[in-house]
């Protein structure tokens, strides 16, 4: 393996060398004034990223842990929950809700399609839901669900808590927790934020914190009980469980880089690169999994042309220094996924498109050399 390999999978993403250096600073005491400050600054910066006045939480764990914390703190056994499912990761919320004894109602759309707010409206009338869950960017297909619009519907039509999985969008696309009526927003460190995997992150609104005091039963999840972490996120010198010191160094540095770039500029960069990549796929006649009008700016899933073997394609890509991912579940073997988020820049996306062209050509696919690159360049210059 070359350490210059480009990690173009939908998470983990390439980590900036400055973030890796922060990661490897000598481990300090979690009660040292320096670490207490770094932890606090990270939480404050995270609130800026969530665009919220709510509390932010950072806990050792994967993004999946964040999803479970979101559900487990809100839902009690017997509560009804509406799970909006548009792919592999939306289904996670269903499994989690079941594990916590909720009665699940699933609104499922075919892979590649987004959830429609009107459909949510119809479902909301079917029951008294305690919570609604939705995935912002569905990493299995590359669609982005309309989080703002669904949030409006949920709040107009029900008293349900609105839980959003922003694991594959936060830091790459706009996520406005306060403006979009999001009660709990869950995220991870390893995608658009560009830190290594290993941190679960959440924003949690006041209504949820109030709910915690009026639950009929304790949260069946001690490590994930927000009540245990609340004193820590409000005063980072407090202790519940040992925080992942080095990972928080890395997050701190990644958030500084992110805010230094500026959120609007960062989202625009993601959009330009995504558009460039999609234009290249069009030029190469590769069909995308996601409906175009719902395509996410952070990643893309594309179908292979006929007679292209998945393992061979990805292994040839890697030989060219570019790591891409397979598709999941029912799409396994039928396509590939490219993450264009976090630190990915125009150089990286052109390199990726070039490698895709060369690999497909060598595997016998009929294409005009440079057509994808030219389309991408044209799109970049036009945006």
């Amino acid at each position: 393996m070359s350490e210059r390999e480009l990690l173009m999978i939908p998470g983990p993403t390439n980590v900036d060398p400055a973030v890796l250096r922060a990661l490897s600073k000598p481990t300090q005491s979690h009660t040292s004034s320096e670490f207490v400050r770094i932890f606090k600054e990270s939480l404050n910066d995270l609130k800026k990223l969530f665009m919220t006045q709510d509390e932010a939480f950072v806990i050792a764990g994967s993004g999946t842990l964040a999803l479970e914390m979101a559900v487990a703190n809100v839902v009690e056994p017997g509560d009804r929950i509406l799970n909006l499912v548009a792919g592999f990761f939306g289904q996670h919320f269903v499994e989690i809700a079941k594990a916590h004894g909720a009665v699940t109602q699933v609104l499922e759309v075919p892979w590649g399609e987004p959830i429609k707010p009107e459909a949510v409206k119809d479902f909301l009338h079917k029951g008294n839901f305690k919570a609604v869950t939705v995935t912002h960017v569905e990493t299995s297909t590359g669609i982005a669900n309309p989080i703002r619009e669904i949030g409006e519907t949920v709040k107009e039509q029900s008293d349900a808590f609105y839980i959003v999985d922003a694991v594959c969008s936060l830091g790459g696309m706009e996520v406005r927790v306060d403006d979009w009526n999001i009660d709990i927003c869950a995220a991870g460190s390893q995608k658009c934020i560009g830190a290594p995997p290993g941190l679960a992150m959440l924003s949690v609104g006041n209504d949820v914190l109030k709910l915690l005091d009026s639950r009929r039963s304790p949260v069946c999840f001690w490590y994930g009980d927000l009540n245990n972490w609340l004193p820590v996120v409000r005063d980072t010198s407090q202790y519940f469980a040992t925080p992942p010191v080095n990972m928080i160094y890395a997050l701190h540095q990644a958030l500084k880089i992110l805010l230094n770039e500026g959120l609007e500029q960062r989202f625009r960069r993601h959009h330009v690169i995504a558009e460039a990549f999609r234009a290249a796929m069009d030029a190469l006649n590769l069909r995308l999994v996601a409906k175009r009008e719902s395509a996410a700016d952070t990643m893309t899933a594309a179908y292979y042309p006929d007679n292209i073997d998945d393992a061979t394609f990805r292994s040839e890509m890697r030989r060219r220094g570019i790591v891409v991912a397979s598709t999941l579940g029912p799409l396994k073997g039928k396509g590939f996924r490219v993450g264009h988020m976090g630190n990915v820049n125009q150089n990286d996306i052109l390199a990726t498109i070039g490698a895709i062209e060369a690999t497909l050509k060598n595997m016998g696919y009929n294409l005009n050399e440079g057509a994808g690159l030219a389309a991408a360049e044209e799109k970049i210059l036009s945006l």
Copy 2:
């Protein structure tokens, strides 16, 4: 802060520079052949450390997560559990058991004293327990509970699963999972193993895995459900949630260092250093919290002499480049805790003793300069 500061708290501990370098390698795909191999080797090395043929698990989270996984997978609502509590961290098991609906029976001993196997025997007759929990080294007091003897009692007197918290012993003191009848052993990365905090680790025996198939109710903890992780630890190319790639690089390196030193040699080093530190405390007339015959080899809690202010002491120690910890709960302000585990060597322990002498002397405590150092040196040479 100087990056040469000695971290002499009972976790996190000083991380070896080679481990920090491994930590900061470029993040790779969790499905790359290199990472799949590193993850697999780490699990295999961890089994050597647990001294077991059982399955080993490594998951993003703190040691607390490992404790919760141990309890949540075994216990169902209404099950009776016996919690052996000898301090602050033993109590964690009680809180966790309650969160999962277990009926808790607590055998508690005063802080500084160990759990006695005979007392466990008496309690086991009081009820049909599904599980017994115990803390090996209680980090709040520095006692080591007799894990082997308690395990024998549990297996002779009951059908209960034996759950051991080895967070503050694994890698520093002997922990024989197979020989000591331990069904689930929980640990973390940041203490005797000498990696940064952020990994939960467990060994899980066959009887527990069998139990998972016959539970009356699902595990109320999706992220911690062993059934979800079992395919991953058996084949590290499989996916459940994104593994903490860089933290596993660090663990991998730390375990190589550990096994290269050799377990027997490593435990002996911990014992010599612990004995040297205790001899120094005796020579300085500082009373230990833990009963001497039960004192752990990984850390020590000592009471302050009269009129020594906790915050001043620790801040003066830090000015001398040595970070020590406060005592917890009812002992807060009354003493300090020193971790002598992981990478800590004789040089470090002498430096720590020297700083304690100088600090106490400067704060007005009457001592013979060098008495602690001499006692430690004498002990080191005699062992």
